[in-house]
């Protein structure tokens, strides 16, 4: 085989692959397998050309999953890779984020990761962006063929999911961007499916494929996610029993009382030390054992254990799906894979179903039944709390009038009296309420009935 010079890379120059560079990958690109769809798989030059010269992929997150994802994509033959991450490197990242070294601590993850990949895998362009996904607009996301997320935040996943669903234009097939989402931080569906709710942390993760508007989206599964542990404020204040209760008391109640305007910085060892000392004193007072520096740090910073091997498994699953989607060399996952490694190797592959009343991809209004006596304020409380909605600071309106807006301040002040009013005075039986929030790029439509 002759050395082939492809079209210009994103840098504008040609990079010649050495002969047999893709000896391994080419075995599955040169011929189909028994389960390959013959109509979509263009074996040989066509598929290789698309993968290596045309396909543009976005990686969101350059942390535990992101580092692995970038290396896997580069070796698989993706040559135009973009990566977004808003974080800088911390020493506790080094036990798994293998593109970073002690000298990189404090540097942006996206930049260092991109440089490392380009140095190690010649001919691959990785374009970093050190910032937030919300900084980018629809035109930016439109340029990619695929998006892979390696995040540990539910909010960020909801944002990118809704953005990609909104991008879909039925007239334009290119507007459908498959979203592959990996996670190892425990906000998965394992509790819902009665497997390993708590102790398998660190050894557990999931990968899912979302074809926006076609398959179940991230928002469709929101109410089924494992919930983080929350300690009731009255327990913390009045009846502490666990060391965690004392730590929460110190960080949530005592810190603002004593420190006033100074915000608790969970990365500042002096701040953690203060919380630790205060928590320890309270624990001694109540004869509660077990407050340590490490536990304090873990509770205050909401630390979730993480190891290299689990990230490797989940990142590899995500990249394998990206590779299969980009090449059609095999069908992609439909649509959810979870793996738990604490007791032998357990995994579960299943299709998570689309929700017709999903606020992002469903199209139908969500039916809500509330007492006739409820005020607007009470309705807002419910919207914040409900597991399938979870909207922080929602603004409400009907198709004809505004009910309550969180911002700007003048509007908020003007509409504040509405909070005391009954919903039933503002919205007729069976009427619609549109809910919006600045943190989420979608409108939730509620149909209100009264009991």
């Amino acid at each position: 085989m002759a050395t082939a010079a492809g079209p210009p890379t994103a840098n504008g120059f040609h990079y010649a692959d050495w002969e047999d560079r893709y000896y391994h990958v080419d075995q599955v690109l040169d011929r189909p397998g028994p389960r390959t769809d013959p109509d979509s798989f263009m074996a040989g030059a066509a598929v290789k050309n698309f993968l290596r010269d045309k396909c543009k992929i976005l990686v969101i997150g350059a942390g535990g999953l992101g580092c692995e994802i970038l290396a896997n994509l580069a070796l698989s033959g993706f040559k135009d890779i973009h990566v977004i991450d808003m974080d800088t490197i911390d020493i506790s990242n080094l036990n798994r984020q293998f593109l970073f070294r002690p000298k990189d601590v404090g540097q942006p993850k996206a930049t260092i990761a991109a440089e490392y990949i380009m140095k190690r895998v010649p001919g691959v362009t990785v374009t970093p962006y050190y910032g937030k996904i919300q900084d980018k607009d629809d035109d930016y996301y439109m340029q990619f063929n695929l998006v892979i997320c390696g995040l540990d935040s539910v909010e960020a996943r909801r944002w990118i999911n809704a953005t990609l669903v909104n991008l879909v234009d039925r007239e334009n097939p290119e507007s459908l961007k498959p979203l592959i989402d990996g996670g190892t931080e425990g906000r998965d569906l394992s509790f819902r499916y009665h497997v390993a709710p708590h102790r398998s942390e660190g050894f557990k993760g999931q990968a899912r494929v979302i074809l926006p508007t076609i398959t179940s989206c991230y928002e469709c599964s929101l109410d089924m996610l494992n919930k983080p542990t929350v300690f009731p404020i009255c327990t913390i204040a009045n009846t502490p029993r666990l060391p965690e209760h004392c730590i929460e008391w110190a960080s949530v109640l005592e810190w603002p009382r004593v420190k006033g305007e100074t915000k608790l910085d969970t990365d500042d060892p002096d701040h953690i030390q203060w919380v630790y000392d205060v928590a320890l004193k309270r624990a001694e007072e109540f004869k509660i054992e077990g407050v340590t520096w490490s536990l304090t740090h873990g509770v205050v910073k909401n630390i979730i254990p993480a190891i290299a091997s689990t990230n490797a498994i989940i990142a590899a699953s995500c990249c394998n799906e990206a590779f299969k989607i980009a090449t059609s060399s095999a069908a992609c996952l439909n649509n959810y894979f979870m793996l738990i490694g604490t007791d032998s190797v357990y995994s579960y592959t299943f299709e998570h179903e689309k929700r017709d009343d999903c606020p992002v991809c469903g199209g139908e209004s969500l039916e809500i039944s509330i007492p006739e006596s409820w005020t607007v304020e009470r309705l807002i409380e419910m919207l914040v709390e409900r597991q399938d909605i979870q909207i922080k600071k929602p603004s409400l309106s009907t198709p004809t009038k505004h009910i309550y807006f969180q911002a700007p301040p003048q509007l908020e002040t003007a509409m504040r009296p509405n909070l005391e009013k009954k919903v039933s005075e503002l919205v007729p039986e069976g009427g619609d309420v549109i809910v919006t929030a600045s943190t989420l790029p979608f409108n939730l439509s509620l149909r209100i009935t009264y009991t």
């Binding site: 391994h24 028994p34 293998f98 102790r199 660190g202 190891i307 490797a312 699953s317």
Partner: protein, 519 residues
């Protein structure tokens, strides 16, 4: 090899009160899982990996990052152009023509200064022939796509001696893979089981029963009443029930409902959370605290108890459980529950005191001296301890009845396993063919393992077809996936925490599933 707990206690008390040192901060996210004891086991481990493939270096990466003590990478081959294209631990085309183990070790060692690494450029065939004792200098051995004849020789060598290091052979081709963990026995104290230990509502120890009956529910004010721990509520309700029912707990569905309505009737107000908890936990009143089935099974087979501290501990645990009330030593950990601080702390102390007494009773049953801290650890984790009995690599393929049984219940896993065994048979059958195997050739090998009539056409074609498509492909994503799976198993074997795969773990990344074939 035993459980080494010497590093544990001092290290933890020393780091309790102050900000941790650099090393602890680096490993913080994993120390929260396997603690300093697991970490020191990793730091004492010496791992041998045979073959510097993309899969092998991915596995090593995930062992170097968490800080194993030492690894040796054994490979005499030179980096090919294909190797340079799919292995992140070669330096692109500049590595081509250099020794595979030396190149990979150089780049893997960069990941963690604390890890000692050696490149061994000898041919494994020569080492097996001339220096078999070499392999006994390691605590774990991993191979990837090792030539079948050499793998069998290595597996047999290790199997002959029960104190040999465990062996993890990995096979992969294209989107399919299989791993095995070979060990004679494997002792686990900290299995990190999902099952919580019993809090003995059904068999309350005297101090607990006394404390529960001493409470004056009726004279309490509303606040106190709403803060009685559900443990007291249940223990007392059950004791009263048994007094009225010939000493028996609620048994029929109707009785259980009646028991619950008795609990409900004790509520002062409808929103008492402690009574909500008591109702939710009421099943504990009629679920007898017994020795977990996996331990009953283990106790029945004491002839094979290992002559190790763990073996002595197991024998003592059996003796303990043979005495009334036929339970394991009480666990000192009490779950959180609705309560005021004082009641909870008092209840917790009752459990701690009783657990301490039972631990001393347990200690007196030991027939050989065992390190005191190891005894404490064992008792604390007694309900989850495991002694796994493993099998020789390849033994399953000589058991056609077992294969047929597996084929019925674990069809795709067994079919994929058979396809790999057929590939190995093809690779070792002389004369060595050029090019890859054909479907026909692999099928011919499969029917030497299992009767033709038992074969399931679809699953077998799916597996064989993928292997024929890419018989030598070490795909980057599959390598990375295996890198994670195998490293997890290696960590479990080394730390003796969590439960490793006992048998074959079969992986299909066409349809994205994994399954386990017991050996």
């Amino acid at each position: 090899m035993g459980f080494d707990i010497s590093h544990d206690i001092n290290a933890e008390t020393a780091t309790t009160h102050v900000q941790p040192d650099t090393k602890t901060r680096r490993y913080d996210r994993q120390l929260r899982l396997w603690a300093s004891m697991g970490q020191s086991a990793l730091e004492s481990a010496r791992i041998l990996v045979i073959g510097a493939s993309a899969t092998a270096t991915s596995i090593l990466k995930n062992l170097v990052l968490p800080g194993i003590g030492h690894f040796t990478l054994l490979d005499h081959a030179l980096v090919s152009p294909g190797d340079a294209g799919n292995n992140f631990f070669f330096d692109g085309p500049t590595s081509i023509g250099r020794n595979r183990s030396e190149e990979a070790v150089r780049l893997l060692a960069e990941l963690n200064d604390n890890v000692h690494a050696t490149a061994d450029t000898r041919d494994v065939a020569d080492v097996l022939a001339s220096d078999p004792s070499y392999f006994f200098g390691f605590s774990l051995i991993i191979t990837h796509n090792l030539a079948p004849v050499l793998l069998t020789r290595l597996a047999d060598l290790l199997w002959r001696n029960s104190s040999s290091p465990p062996l993890i052979p990995v096979r992969s081709a294209g989107f399919l893979a299989e791993i095995f963990v070979q060990f004679h026995t494997h002792e686990i104290i900290e299995s990190h089981t999902e099952t919580a230990p019993s809090i003995r509502i059904d068999k309350p120890f005297p101090a607990l029963l006394q404390a529960a009956q001493a409470l004056e529910f009726d004279s309490m004010d509303t606040t106190d009443h709403g803060h009685i721990p559900y443990v007291y509520i249940l223990v007392r309700a059950l004791d009263d029930w048994k007094a009225a029912h010939n000493g028996l707990p609620p048994q029929t569905h109707a009785e259980k409902q009646e028991f619950k309505s008795i609990l409900n009737a004790q509520r002062r107000t409808s929103d008492e959370e402690n009574f909500d908890e008591a109702l939710a936990q009421a099943y504990r009143a009629w679920t007898p605290t017994v020795v977990p089935p996996h331990l009953v099974e283990l106790f029945a087979d004491t002839a094979t108890m290992p002559p190790t501290p763990f073996g002595h501990l197991l024998i003592a645990l059996r003796s303990f459980s043979e005495r009334p009330p036929h339970v394991l030593p009480l666990n000192a950990t009490l779950p959180d529950m609705k309560s005021d601080t004082e009641s909870y702390v008092h209840l917790q102390n009752l459990y701690r005191t009783q657990a301490g007494e039972e631990r001393e009773q347990f200690r007196s049953l030991l027939r050989a001296p065992v390190d005191s801290e190891l005894v404490d650890l064992f008792v604390k984790n007694a309900h989850g301890v495991q002694l796994l009995k493993g099998a020789r690599y390849g033994a399953l393929d000589a058991l056609p009845e077992k294969l047929v049984m597996h084929l019925n219940s674990l069809t795709r896993e067994t079919a994929t396993h058979l396809a790999f065994s057929a590939l190995d048979a093809w690779r070792s059958s002389p004369p060595r063919q050029t090019g890859g195997p054909t479907e026909r050739e692999l099928r011919d090998h499969v029917v030497t393992l299992i009767p033709r009539t038992e074969l399931n056409e679809k699953e077998l074609s799916d597996a064989i077809g993928e292997i024929v498509r890419a018989p030598t492909a070490d795909l980057p994503n599959v390598a990375a996936f295996l890198g994670g799976i195998v490293a997890q198993e290696a960590i479990k074997m080394i730390t003796r925490q969590y439960v490793p795969v006992n048998g074959y773990c079969v992986i299909d990344l066409v349809d994205t599933w994994t399954g386990v074939l017991p050996s």
